[in-house]
């Protein structure tokens, strides 16, 4: 097969969060203009696809909406998630070598349980695609590289107990930027320890630091993990002109990264320098993924680009050492942690939905088993949602669950139902996205 890229371009010119919000109709307008003007859609290396609409079940392999996911989304979410599924199909059916879902609305801040919009996201379009790839094509080992400037806390949340998904996120240090999380210690629950990799970078890190990190660590981790598929959560807000963040990456820096990574599927995430960055970064990524010359893609105005501070590389070097140790010793640590937790692991989470002012409290409990990966439950209580205060007890049944655990999980759901503490009790079947209300 020739070096070909499937391109799903869906700018959602009729969708916005609010008129002056960064997620507004205008966001991909200049990107559309640039791609059209360059003539990219005429290149034989690039094959255009139109997004299809995802089904509710597709969303529910990754999410449990309270009171229901259908009541929380707009049709635009079905189109952007559907765009990712279209990209996945194109690659898995070998119609193209790789694919880029250049779609909005984005998704990497959306967690497994959804009460509303957070970080511009309602449903996690990469997570939906990952679960679809598993259910429809039997793909097991998947790596997701998140190149958005913000920590993809939603993706981290969905993949946290899944040892077969390697999630790597580099981002501007959470102490200086939304959502405030994404430190190396957040490395996965015991059964999936070391497959959640966080690389917080200092503000001002540019092409040099980024590639130092990729060459010195990320490439080695990928080589070791041996994923069947690499997915790129292609946020573009590390760009020096982004209004919401403080990094110094250029279109060339992004394009070279896309070239090195050679992701099977890329999905657009954030990036809000809609006029000065997105048209060039997207052109660069598309050319790199299609195996075409991207060396001439340069921003016309580089006056705002500042030289990287020496401290940025120092942080990169620290991360290479610290996180390298963490990853390459993960099997040993995993055994220790599993032994220590004695079959049950639990964490409490406070989740804030910046877009709607929702405060959510969660208790997540993983129950391990010797003959399968076990199952996990989520207790959730959220205040001030569109539907008022709401609470739910959720049981999540992974693909490989054994009959024994399945029985235990249902028993637990029934027990919780009887307590009368919860407005809703749900059982999520990850394999088919079927959610049962108990």
């Amino acid at each position: 097969m020739k070096n070909t890229l499937g391109l799903v371009f869906f700018p959602a010119f009729d969708w916005m969060i609010s008129p002056t919000h960064p997620e507004r109709q205008e966001r991909l307008l200049y990107t559309r203009d640039q791609l059209e003007e360059e003539g990219l859609f005429d290149c034989e290396e690039i094959k255009e696809y139109r997004p299809r609409l995802a089904q509710i079940n597709d969303l529910q392999r990754a999410h449990i909406g309270v009171p229901g996911i259908a009541r929380l989304i707009t049709p635009a979410h079905l189109a952007s998630a559907g765009g990712c599924l279209t990209a996945a199909d194109a690659v898995m059916r070998k119609e193209v070598q790789r694919a880029f879902a250049l779609v909005r609305p984005p998704g990497h801040h959306a967690m497994r349980v959804v009460h509303g919009i957070r970080g511009f996201c309602t449903v996690n379009i990469e997570a939906i695609m990952v679960e679809y790839l598993r259910s429809s094509y039997g793909v097991k080992r998947i790596a997701v590289i998140d190149t958005d400037v913000h920590h993809g806390d939603g993706s981290q949340d969905v993949f946290y107990h899944d040892p077969n998904t390697l999630y790597i996120s580099f981002h501007q240090d959470g102490r200086t930027l939304y959502p405030g999380t994404g430190f190396p210690e957040e490395a996965g629950s015991p059964g999936a320890w070391g497959t959640n990799i966080n690389l917080p970078l200092l503000p001002g890190t540019g092409d040099e630091g980024l590639h130092r990190l990729y060459d010195g660590l990320i490439s080695h981790i990928l080589e070791d993990f041996k994923p069947e598929l690499i997915i790129n959560s292609a946020g573009q807000d590390n760009h020096f002109s982004d209004p919401l963040a403080s990094m110094a990456v250029t279109a060339q820096g992004y394009a070279r990264l896309a070239d090195k990574l050679q992701a099977d599927i890329a999905v657009l995430e954030g990036g809000y320098s809609v006029e000065s960055a997105l048209p060039y970064v997207n052109t660069g990524i598309i050319l790199a993924m299609a195996g075409m010359d991207y060396s001439k893609v340069l921003e016309p105005d580089m006056s705002e680009l500042r030289k990287q501070d020496p401290r940025c590389n120092k942080r990169v070097d620290q991360l290479i050492e610290q996180v390298g140790d963490l990853y390459f010793n993960r099997e040993r640590t995993k055994k220790e942690l599993l032994k220590k937790c004695n079959g049950v692991w639990q964490r409490k989470k406070h989740i804030y939905y910046d877009e709607e002012g929702i405060r959510e409290q969660q208790v997540e409990t993983v129950r391990y088993c010797n003959s399968c990966g076990g199952y996990f439950t989520i207790q959730t209580a959220a205040e001030d949602t569109r539907f008022g205060d709401q609470s739910a007890f959720i049981v999540c049944l992974p693909r490989d669950i054994c009959p024994n655990c399945r029985q235990k999980a249902y028993d637990e759901a029934l027990r919780e139902k009887k307590t009368g503490r919860w407005q809703y009790v749900f059982v999520q079947q990850i394999v088919d996205g079927f959610i049962e209300t108990i």
Binding site: F9, F10, P11, A12, F13, D14, W15, P19, T20, R24, Q25, E26, L29, Y30, R32, D33, Q34, E36, E37, E38, G39, L40, F41, D42, C43, E48, Y49, R50, P51, R52, L53, T74, P75, A76, A79, G82, P243, E275, P279, Y280, T283, L287, M292, D293, S295, K296, V297, L298, E299, P300, D301
Partner: protein, 549 residues
Amino acid sequence: MLLGIDVGGTFTDAVVIDNQEILAQAKVPTNHEDVLQCVLAALDKVLLDGVAQNLQRVVISSTIVTNALTENKIDPVFLAVMTGPGMNVKGKFPVEPHYVSGYVDHRGKITAQIDWTKHRDLLNTKGSGVCAVSGKFAVRQPQNEYLLEYELKKCGYKKVFLGSELSGELNFVRRTNSAYFAAAVYKVFEKFCQKVQLALENRGITTSVHILKADGGTLPLKVALEQPVETVFTGPAASVLGIEALAAPEVNSISLDVGGTTTDIAFWENGLPLMAKRGASINGYPTAVRAFHMRSIGIGGDSKITKTIDGYQVGPEREGSAAAIGGSVATLSDALIVAGYVSFGEPAKSLEAIAKLGGNPVIEARKIVESAVAQITATIKDMLVEWAKQPVYTVDDVIRGTEFEPAQLIGVGGGSLGLVKAVGEAMALPVEIPQGAMVANAIGAALARPTLSAGLRADTTDGYYIIPESGRRERLPSGFGQRVAEKLLADWLHKQAADWQLQGQEVELISCEHFRTIHSYYDTGDIFNLRMQLKPGILHKIVGREVEL
């Protein structure tokens, strides 16, 4: 009275239409070595007494530009491009371009002026002949193109084609190729126009002479000279217009114009042919030439039949006339006769010719027809897929879908009757064969309306609007909004139509986008992208009827 002439691959047709009826029609063999002679031979056959003085309009659909391009009888072109940063365009144009500095960004801002100190060589060349100039985003701000044109004319180039003048739409590579091909065929086309004009004057025809374009519109000769590349591929366009005049399908339809050598396939919705979204390809290079969403495949009534290991190959070469009407070897028409789809000439001769291929002639004939039908249905399927992949920009687009579902087939052209019936059977669709289909292309040419479309882009942050087709960039009038934008564009179209002596026609809005631009959470202005056109199509329908050839 209206006169239409269509130079086809095999025959040149002429028709005179009066009062919605065919007054005269003629068919002469096409001689590709001398297209002008064919035009005149066909013309003379229909110039009955009193016709020349009463003609309101003459429209010619000729292969002159198409032939020049396919036979590479074109002039060398000096091509200068201003790409700025972006995709590497090496190999995207028919000739290696001369790269010139200077860049306009997507908002139409000049981010780099042309640095003449870098182009001393260029300024010192002694030019002659034609050249083409194209800059990225010149449709948003053409100033750099104008400056370069000015300098090149000073160097001695006689004629300079600008990308932004040939198309007002985004797509730098396509505009550049349009400008290149326009320049390359300019002289051939100019010579042809002069000869036509002279020959018509000699015959006492003083009315305006128009040339058919690939998008089914017409332009007066003089205007066509400014955009000669638009007159490429007019044969298929004429066929589409002919179908419109004769059949005007009300339901979603697929038309098949079956000639001797080729079949042209087009799609119809709401009585109008569908246009290709991005323009035609010439010699493998994408251009901005607007054309119908159609394909031509090498299957026709006279197609050659070749035996293969597991069946038959039909076309793409032409064998000659069917055995039924005096040919020596079996053609697709003979197979259609033997298989029972149609009957003409001497069916016994067809049977004899098919029998020479071995086996049971009826079974073999069916196999041959099946092979031809399979090729046609595969092409139709391809076209359906291509159509469904149109870009979608809004949620609404995704939900509505853009799939095309045909409800009937329409057959025109000499070889249509049998073949289209067979395709209809295979696709389980009803078939319509309109009357008067013998010279449909010439009828289409005679009745074609002028087409003219233009865009308007306004960026209120900048305070300017531009109609790329006019090259004018003007300050926004006070009280600017979408309604004012529509009026400005409609006024320009009406004025342009009057200047080009095009008949008064309604203007319609094709697309409209409106975005608010925001900087740091504050509203800074609006962007409007509008496109309008003169309503395309045909002047009027006609009552189909065959008259003596």
